[in-house]
């Protein structure tokens, strides 16, 4: 039930942000935040499929390739579980490292799908990547306090 409410809130916020956000600027990835929020309070056998489904929903909303975001969020959730298992949970640097690891895994998933479909890979712009990560990070810190 909480997941459903969180999903509705995410959908609403993503629409709100798309209207308010300056055009051309990387926006925070709220679906990633939602997937990680669910993963932090759930076992992997639930967290991974939910992340995958959230990614599929994101694909449907974005009118893009079905599976691209699905694989991206799946990788992010997996990286989250892997990092959480190896690091003691806490605040600050640990959370930052876990988020960075999951964020990079998400992009790895994107590139994997693009490579799988022989898509023309978008130009790699580290600054955009960094900006998206920095804008998403505050939301991740916020949901860290709202555990399931």
């Amino acid at each position: 039930m909480r997941l459903l409410l969180a999903l509705l809130l995410t959908l609403f916020l993503s629409g709100l942000l798309s209207a308010l956000w300056p055009q051309g600027l990387m926006a925070p990835d709220l679906f990633l935040v939602l997937a990680l929020w669910y993963a932090q309070g759930s076992p992997a056998y639930l967290g991974l499929p939910v992340a995958f489904l959230l990614g599929l929903l994101q694909d449907l909303l974005g009118y893009g390739l079905v599976g691209l975001h699905g694989v991206g969020l799946l990788f992010a959730a997996y990286a989250y579980y892997a990092a959480s298992r190896r690091l003691t949970s806490g605040e600050g640097l640990t959370v930052l490292f876990i988020f960075s690891w999951a964020f990079l895994a998400k992009w790895l998933g994107y590139f994997l799908v693009a490579y799988w479909l022989r898509l023309e890979l978008p130009p790699f712009v580290p600054l955009d990547l960094l900006l998206e990560g920095l804008l998403t990070l505050p939301f991740f810190f916020l949901v860290q306090r709202l555990r399931l």
Binding site: G15, A19, Y45, L60, G64, V66, G67, L74, V113, L117
Partner: protein
Amino acid sequence: MRGVVLRRGLLLALLLLGLGLAALTRPLAPRLTLALSPLTAPLPALGFRLGQNLKAAWDTLLNRQDLYAENQALKEKLALLEGENRRLALEVARLERALAVRQGQAPGLLAVAPVIGEDLSGLYRRLILGMGERDGLRVGMPVTAPEGLVGLIVEVEERRALVRTLLDPESQVGVRPERSPGRGVARGVPPNRLVAEFPPTVKLSPGELLLTGAPLGLFPDGIPVGRIERVERVQGGLKQRAWVRPLVELSLLEEVMVLRPL
């Protein structure tokens, strides 16, 4: 260990599913998502609309602030223009008075001078003008106002001039009645009267206007001086004396017109 295997197995399965879905739905990419969008779009659309409204509200607020600043600037400009308008209105009125003097009394108008002081001693009735030798004023120049004669300049400094008004006891003005022939001399009787003496043959009546005349040669002919209040015979009927109220209210004068001397 079992958990790790489960997690990796799940990852692999879902990855294959994702890649498969991507490969299978790639040809249908836009159509499939467009077909499903009625199910997924309403909530983001609601957020989007709210965001647009918030943005519009913010823009409106910013515009209102602009309007407020613009309104303040316009108010300041209006105050400035109103001040300028008042100044110009006064200037126009001053020029109109000068024109009236030039047309009605004497064409030789030299300057319009402000009255900056008055001798209120009671012995003399004199005015101090805020212009002097530097502005071209000289001793002997007649001074008038649109209502009538004021007096004569008797002293000039660089930036000031002293006017002996027609109410001053030392003042003598050659006068004549407006509607009948004859000439006389008017002297000042402080605080606010003139006494004009005429030969007994001149027809005078109360209410009649006296104008400057030629006899003493100090003022241009025809400038209004005052109205006769009463007439009396003196020296056994050899002369008649007219008590005259001047047309100009000296204490209210703010500026006067200086004429070229004859």
